[in-house]
């Protein structure tokens, strides 16, 4: 169920490589846990991120959740369409609801994150 073209974190973010850039979003599991998403706070272009650093927040009607960068690098693009249509995070978390694109300090580091199968197993263990 989780796309194999990307890597995942324990904080339920995904990162997909596109050249020297990483595209970052949250997973299907994360949006299910949150419920109806109504608000996002995303960083400015130019912000430098380290792995695990908070880069914004996503809020559903009931909950606030911090967003953590899976990678190191500089934010080069932000999905500003999400501010108007935060519900896309629920409907298409792995696609249209990408959040930021990061120019990666070390593209090879992405391979150290969980692949789809490992993430699936992790989510199943969390759900118990």
């Amino acid at each position: 169920m989780y796309p194999e073209d990307r890597r995942y974190t324990k904080e339920h973010e995904w990162v997909r490589l596109e050249g020297d850039r990483g595209i970052v979003g949250i997973t299907q599991y994360a949006q299910e846990q949150l419920g109806d998403v109504v608000f996002l706070e995303l960083p400015e272009v130019g912000r430098k991120l380290s792995p695990g650093e908070g880069f914004g927040t996503v809020e559903s009607v009931k909950a606030v959740s911090e967003l953590y960068s899976p990678v190191a690098g500089e934010v080069v693009e932000v999905n500003s369409a999400l501010a108007q249509k935060p519900e896309v995070v629920n409907s298409d978390p792995h696609g249209a609801a990408w959040m930021i694109k990061v120019k990666l300090a070390d593209p090879a580091a992405v391979a150290g994150l969980m692949d789809a199968r490992a993430y699936q197993a992790y989510v199943e263990s969390e759900a118990k």
């Binding site: 419920g35 109806d36 109504v38 608000f39 706070e41 927040t57 809020e59 559903s60 009607v61 009931k62 606030v64 629920n90």
Partner: protein
């Protein structure tokens, strides 16, 4: 952690795909298809809620009325049989032990519906007030409680009952049957919509729920969880005990002074001196509604600033799905609580502008 209790509707919630959460010691459905869709269904069509976690106390006997006059804020003598009243159990400081609904089932027999999380505290408090000439019983185990709310509620319920619902006015109730199940049907609720709360024996709750869902499907009825219950009541500015009400907030401060009866017929009751003074001279602070005018969602506990002064914290705050605004409640000093007052809500360290607005935020069209 203590084992969570389950209502008689637990199985049907699981079948319906509900997401379950702990609430007041119970495992309750927080949402089914999604909070926003459920919220809008109640505003536009109808929703069915399981509120069986609520507690029920019966007070009966020749001294029942006198006891309730002493321990509640409202004038119980005004209640006819078949009538209900929103009220509270005040402490000597004028703040509530709990907010309750009092139902008069007979001249000397009353039912009190209390919050699940406060049940033991309420029980201990009422016992400590020495019920004289009456019997106080915890009947919570004898009732499941379903709330059918929304503009289509009556049209859905009427074909299933011989009770003429058009004759059951707001805050009145009738006893009879719905689809063969013995019930007490009250025209009350916690959503700001028209609707009913249906008391039924626990063994009958599951079949009644299924029958209602089936009967209401064509009229847009959906099951609704506690998530939307909270956003619905907030839009209607109905207080939630533990958020907007507690044992430090007087009823007058909470905007519930209207329920405090100074009628000579009622006489003395716990908390009266404080409440009488605050009703006459105004309370030192007031619970007001605000809209966040900047970007962000105010939530329970966030600090609120008025100019340079920290004036309090958000008691309830949320995105409001029908109004599509970010709204909240806060206690402000009475002189600074007028609609239009500019505030700032501190959202994760950042001050975001907000403005006091008239409440309720939402009032249903009649």
């Amino acid at each position: 952690m203590a084992e969570l209790r389950r209502t008689p509707l637990y199985a049907v919630h699981r079948e319906s795909g509900a997401k379950m959460v702990a609430f007041g010691g119970w495992e309750m459905p927080v949402e089914y298809a999604g909070l926003i869709a459920e919220h809008l269904a109640v505003r536009k069509a109808a929703g069915l809620f399981d509120v069986s976690h609520m507690g029920e106390f019966e007070v009966s006997g020749t001294g029942a009325l006198a006891f309730l006059q002493k321990v509640t804020a409202n004038n119980v003598a005004k209640l006819g049989e078949g009538q209900a009243q929103y009220s509270a159990l005040p402490l000597p400081n004028g703040a509530p032990v709990d907010d309750v609904i009092v139902y008069r089932r007979a001249a000397d027999r009353f039912l009190l519906v209390v919050n699940a999380a406060n049940l033991e505290k309420d029980w201990d408090w009422l016992r400590s007030q020495g019920p004289v000439g009456c019997e106080l019983q915890d009947r919570s185990g004898d009732y499941a409680l379903l709330a059918l709310q929304g503009p289509n509620a009556q049209a859905i319920l009427q074909p299933l009952t011989a009770i003429d619902l058009s004759q059951v006015a707001h805050y009145h109730f009738a006893e009879g049957t719905v689809d063969g199940h013995s019930v007490m049907v009250a025209r009350t609720g916690y959503t700001g919509e028209d609707g009913f709360e249906i008391f039924v024996a626990p063994d009958h709750a599951d079949p009644l729920w299924r029958r209602l869902i089936e009967a209401g499907r064509d009229r847009g009825l959906v099951p609704v969880g506690l998530g939307a219950r909270d956003t619905l009541r907030l839009e209607a500015k109905m207080c939630l005990y533990g958020n907007d009400l507690d044992d430090t907030t007087t009823l007058a401060e909470a905007g519930l002074g209207w329920m405090v009866s100074l009628d000579p017929e009622k006489g003395e009751f716990v908390g009266r001196p404080v409440l009488e003074e605050q009703k006459k001279n105004g309370p030192p602070r007031k619970l007001v509604g605000f809209e966040v005018t900047g970007r962000g969602i105010a939530r329970h506990g966030y600090p609120v600033h008025l100019g340079d002064a920290a004036v309090g914290t958000v008691t309830s705050g949320s995105y409001a799905p029908f109004l599509q605004k970010n709204i909240g409640l806060v206690y402000l000093p009475s002189g600074k609580a007028a609609p239009g007052t500019e505030l700032e809500v501190e959202i994760r360290g950042k001050r975001v502008p907000a403005r006091v607005v008239p409440t309720p935020f939402y009032k249903r069209p009649r």
